[in-house]
Structure formats: C-alpha cells, structure tokens
Symmetry: C2
Subunit: 333 residues, 2 copies
C-alpha cells in the first residue's frame, strides 16, 4: 500500500510542478537577459495563462521553425547541399549531359558562385536530383553515415554540432509549455528527418520540407518506398504556408525563420485574418550578425538572404534576434 | 502547503493509474469476448510490456486507420462523394461541358451505376474538382455546415453518427497505450480534417488523405490558402504507403482497413523487410458482414471492394473482423 513518506514526497513534487510548466527565470539560459528573451517569455506566459484573454488551448499551440540558418548554420552552403554535391560529383561520370548544363557544370567544377548564378530554384532542383532512385532506406543510410563523420570546412565541427544552443532551448521551452514544435524547411523532408529527432527532439512526423515524389513497390517480396526525382513541394517562400497547410492543417501561432524564404510563413502565422482577428501571434527572425562565433550576412547573401523580411519585421512586430548581442553562446559546448 | 489527506488521495490515484495504462478487461466494451478482441489486446500488451522481446518504444507506436468503411460507413457512396455530388449539381449550369463528359453526366443525372462505370479513379478526380478555387476557410465551412445537418438517406442518422463505436474504442485503447493514431484515407485530407478531432480524437496534423495542390496568396492583405484542382496525392492503394512515408516518415506497427484500397498499407505495415525483421506488427480488416445493422458487401462492391486483401489476409496473419459476430454494437447510441 501507499507509504506515507513517499506519498508526501510525490504530492509535493506534483504541487510544485503544477505551479508552472517551466519557471521562466530558468528558461533560455543561453539567451542574454534583455528584450529578445523577455518578449519570448512574455508571449508564452500570455498564451498559456488560462486567465489571459490571449489564452490558447494546447492543441492549437503550433510552433514552426525553419531549419537552415534558424536551427543550425547554413554557410558557405546549405549542409544538405554539401552532401548532395558530393553525390553529384560521384555520379558525374554516368551523366555526360551534366557537363553541358548549368548549374551541374559549375557544381561539378566546384564553382559555387557560378552554380548559384543559375538561381536558387535551379540549384535546389539539381540537389534533389541527387536523391532520385534511392530507396528510403538507402537514402537514410547515406545521409546518416555522412552526418556521423563529415566536418564543416571552416569550423572543424561536425555539422550536427553546428545547431544553435539558444534555439534548442527555445524548442524545449515551448514544448514544456505544451507547444507542438514543427520544422518547416526549404531543405529536403527526408534529409532533415534523418537527424531531427536526435538533434532537435522533433519526430519525423513533425518535419515538413521540400518533397520529392515517391512510389511504393513490393521489391523481392519486401515492401519498399523508392524516391523519384519529381519535386512535389518546394517548401520555400510561398511553398511554406502550403506545406504547413498540407501537413498540419492548422495555422501556427509561433513561427521562426531567418531569411526571405520564411517571409510567407511569418505572414501566414502572424498577419491577422481580418479586423476581428486579435489572436496572439509571434514571429521571430534570427539575424546572423556574429562573424566571430558564426557568420555575418543578410541582404547580399546567396544563402539565406534576409532583405524583404527584415524590412517588414518592424511593421509586423516580428522579433529580430541579434545573434551577437542576444545570445551568450551559439553552438553547444 | 500539502494537505495530508489530499496527498494520500493523489498518491493512491497515482499508484493505481501507474499499474497499467488501461485495464485490458475494461477495454473495447463493444467488442464481443472472443478471438478478435483477444488478438488486439494480446498484441498491445506484447508491444507495451518493457520485458517483452517485442517491446516497441512509444515514439514508434504508430497506428494508421483507413476512414471510409473502417471508421465510419461508406454506403451507398463515400459520404464525401455525397457532399461533392451536391456541389457538382449546384455548379452544373456553369459547366456545359460536364453534360457531355463522363462521369459528370451520370453524376448530374443521379445515375450512380453509370457514374461508377467510369472507374473509381475518374470518379475520385471528378469529386475533387468540386473543391477547386475554394479557400481553405470556405471549404471548411461548406463541409462543416453539411455535416451538421445532412442525414443518410437510408439510416436516418447524421453521417457523423455513423462512426463505428468499436473502432472509436480501439482508437482510445491504442492511445491509452501511447500509440499515436493517424487516419490514412483515400478521401480528401481537408474533408476528413473538418471532423476528425471531434469524431475520432485525431488532430488535423495526424490526418493523411488524398491531397489537392494549393497556393498561398495575400488576398486583400489577408494570408490565404486557396485549393487548386490538381491532385498531388491519390492516397489509395499504392498511394497509401507513399502518404504515410510523406507525412509520418516512419513505418506503422498497426494498420486497419477494410478494402483492397488498404492492401498496400497493410503490406507496408506488416510484411517483414527481410529475414532479420521479426518485429511485432498487426494488420486488421473490417469485414462488412452485417446487413441488418450496417451493410453487407465485399468482393463485388463498387464502394470499398474487398477481394484481393481478403484472399491475402490468411497468409499475412491479418485479423479479419466480422462486424456481425465480433461487434456488440455498430454505431454509438
């Protein structure tokens, strides 16, 4: 039967944890005390306080995060791009036509500026072509092996060690307050799923990303999913709200990004649906201002260009996080 | 501070609820005692018992359910089809070309046999065309209003009251054992999402279904998703494993269906990936055998034809649920 001492202990733990899901003053330890951290905490307390007019039921606490440049670094090239370029070079001998066609020609030659001048969309399409014909298992193994060992050319860190510690804390803080956290990435849905659970605590069913078609077959009696080359969703810019609608079917109340590719996700999440819509909403932009600890870029960058969304942040009330001044630490120890 | 009496009470409740998530002998009350109910409970106890060699971590307890004919009735026509036909007839005057083209001509004339003779795929495509150009909000309102009032022509029940009570209990039982339950429907993802949370306790982000393309626009300053007519996923037959892969990114361990449209989902879920794959898996087929309380049909039916999957059930070890003899009750009181 129930032991009195343990009963008291258990009840005390319950009484304490029932006070608040997370003590705000212990949250977000890698964020400097200041307006950015305060704004996040103020919003979360407002939508989780049942007495507040802005209270949001847990089922509707949907938070969406871009991945490249928002949860981990993206310079000098999206990390998925580095993996895909290695695959394209490895396959180049079997594709003589690539040597005549941009952006393949520049990619094979290692001319990144030439490659990017073909335009972001053409580059993304090329990078996805590197996956065609792989089974889902082969793809997972290829990416998993690469992530386990490959290192960033400048930072001498594994790519998985280039996630942003303050953003990991933000994900944890939101989940501790019954938010459901999703990734909404311009990168490939299957690529991000390989590491999202381990790196971010986000299970594959909460990852949205650019999506290739696929088909099912019984291959030698084994049920198999094979990736095709046709792009079904380019989950970037105006594709992000479509991806959210398709996968979640609800409008988020919190969105975080770092580039013009996230503009429409921020608008979809935060712009009122009409005069009657006074619901509480939060938009966040990670501004890469820290040349020393990470990278510094915005309006002129080929990767993660932040221009229009930065201009619109003020009018829309989006929090622009200054990495250099708002974060005590960038990468995990 | 903590009151002793309430401390004891709380602790006792904890001690009791910690025994087992759900007492098996209280579960599935609308299922007759017998081999079908026993097989389900035996499987769930096996994969949730941490001492069992078949134990599955909660994150991997993915269960997928077909909707039409599996969670609610589907005769004389998929209920979404009844709604869509009403919309097609209402729009027929604006589309003179429909009067010359099958299956539109038969649909407008109310000739169901003629309509179905155009083939299931053509009918599904036509029915989806009824959604094109609607905003997501207009669509939700149209379906919601219809479901609130429209009644089944033979059963004199609202369609929402034609869900299967034993399947609602199965969903609850699985969730009480930390399964994550998904719908994987040949019907439209947005249609099912209108009622899935209320009817089944399944939130929109856990609904997969046939999917139309959509686009995002700022319409008069309001962020808006507009449904297009192009079908991006026909979530039926070999499309179901693709939909599962795209939305969940994990292979389910439990799948339930009722027709040949669910065959590949059942294979994907239960057929071993190779000789090394001895993981515990469960396939379930609802067999419509109850002409009196519901409908009786299988190999010859235009809706929910069950033929090949029924032949393959034995060899694959799928549980074939006999509605007439395994269920005490079909619809909720």
């Amino acid at each position: 039967m129930v032991n009195l001492k343990s009963a008291l202990l258990v009840s005390t733990v319950i009484a304490l944890t029932a006070l608040k899901p997370v003590q705000a003053n212990e949250s977000l330890p890698s964020w400097h005390d200041g307006p950015a951290r305060d704004a996040i905490i103020e919003f979360v307390e407002r939508v989780t306080d049942i007495e507040s007019p802005d209270f949001v039921a847990p089922a509707d606490r949907i938070a969406t995060f871009d991945n490249d440049g928002c949860l981990w670094s993206e310079q000098p090239l999206y990390f998925q791009g580095i993996w895909a370029l290695e695959r394209i070079r490895a396959q180049a001998a079997d594709h003589p036509e690539w040597h005549e066609t941009e952006p393949y020609r520049s990619a094979i030659a290692g001319d990144m500026a030439g490659m990017m001048s073909a335009g972001e969309e053409a580059v993304i399409k090329m990078l996805f072509e590197a996956h065609g014909g792989l089974t889902s298992e082969e793809f997972r193994q290829s990416v998993g092996q690469w992530l386990a060992t490959a290192k960033h050319p400048q930072k001498d860190r594994r790519y998985l060690d280039m996630v942003f510690q303050p953003m990991l804390e933000l994900l944890d803080y939101l989940r501790a307050n019954d938010f459901k956290t999703f990734i909404v990435s311009g990168g490939g849905i299957d690529f991000v799923r390989v590491f999202s659970e381990e790196a971010y605590g986000i299970p594959p069913e909460q990852v949205i990303g650019s999506t290739l078609d696929a088909h099912f077959e019984m291959r030698d009696g084994v049920p198999t999913i094979v990736k095709d080359s046709k792009l079904m969703l380019l989950d970037d810019k105006a594709g992000k709200p479509v991806g959210i609608y398709r996968h979640i079917g609800k409008r988020p109340i919190f969105a975080a990004g770092n580039s013009d590719g996230d503009l429409q996700m921020l608008q979809y999440t935060t712009v009122p649906r009409g005069e009657d819509d006074t619901s509480a909403r939060f938009g966040l932009i990670v501004h890469h201002t820290d040349e020393e600890r990470e990278f510094s870029y915005d309006r002129e960058s080929h990767m993660g260009r932040l221009d229009q969304a930065l201009d619109l942040a003020g009018d829309n009330g989006w929090l622009v996080v200054d990495m250099k001044n708002d974060w005590k630490q960038v990468y995990p120890e």
